[in-house]
Subunit: 137 residues, 2 copies
DNA sequence: CAATATGATACTCATAGAGTATCTTATTGT
DNA sequence: ACAATAAGATACTCTATGAGTATCATATTG
């Protein structure tokens, strides 16, 4: 799976934060985006740790986006929630195939992975927002 | 994961069968390729059901490849052992996202999937064999 | 100081990939 | 005929991971 649920939820949350531009609680995000509350909290905490959002405790507190949408690449979010984009290396995790370097299949999978990375890294939150506006979603 | 272990094992087994061109038992495949015996058997049975190999019971029996290596696409094997090549649709399996059709992300993931399929479907057992010969693997 | 909101952390639950076990059926050499 | 060999069929276990939950601690504010 290229995009996990957590990454997808993070995108939606950040999109909402970017459009609202006000401090927003996890509770509100949960309500608006129909994402389970404890899961949403977990995701927001991760985004906080990575410096994508600021957070403030207490009544009226919540999260605020820290980077401009154009700076937030999809691959950054994938890295946070899923680790490196990987369609290839994972197969024989610990004990990597000894022929890896010379293997034709591995080379081809590497090509696919590279292409995927290229496409994904060109996608920023900005694109996602403007495209969804254009479609009225 | 683009290529599962079972698919990978199937490739190795078919490669061996294609090069040997004689009836070969699962036991021999297991020995030569260092793949667990019951797992190898399961894989060979699947290949048999799909008509990629013939099988014969009894002493001296075993498997023989039925198609020419050039006819065996990697995507065919992926379909047998993993189902359709899919990097996109699986995310919200049952309850597919209602915006799927118009979603920008989904479109981009579709592009990546298409590219992956294109590359994988161009790879046949023939290529895998000749490339591995060239590298002396 | 009570209510609200996040921080940290540990937990459960479901699924799928990887691999195993076992019984049945067919073939063949002696 | 029959023991040995090899595949067919099928159901099972084991483990890791993604998805989601629960709970306690801590900070803020009216």
């Amino acid at each position: 799976m290229l995009i996990a649920r957590s990454t997808d939820y993070a995108v939606r949350a950040l999109k909402y934060l970017a459009e609202k531009r006000e401090e927003t609680s996890a509770a509100e995000l949960t309500r608006v985006l129909s994402i389970p509350w404890p899961f949403m909290r977990k995701i927001m905490q991760s985004l906080g740790k990575k410096g994508l959002v600021s957070s403030r405790k207490g009544p009226g507190g919540g999260f605020r986006i820290l980077k401009s949408p154009g700076e937030i690449k999809l691959t950054e979010l994938i890295n946070i929630f899923q680790g490196p984009v990987c369609l290839n290396e994972c197969i024989f995790k610990k004990k990597v195939c000894p022929h890896k370097k010379t293997c034709y299949l591995s080379k081809k999978l590497g090509e696919i992975e590279e292409h995927a990375y290229l496409v994904l890294s060109k996608i920023t939150l900005k694109e996602i927002i403007s495209q969804s506006r254009a479609k009225g979603v």
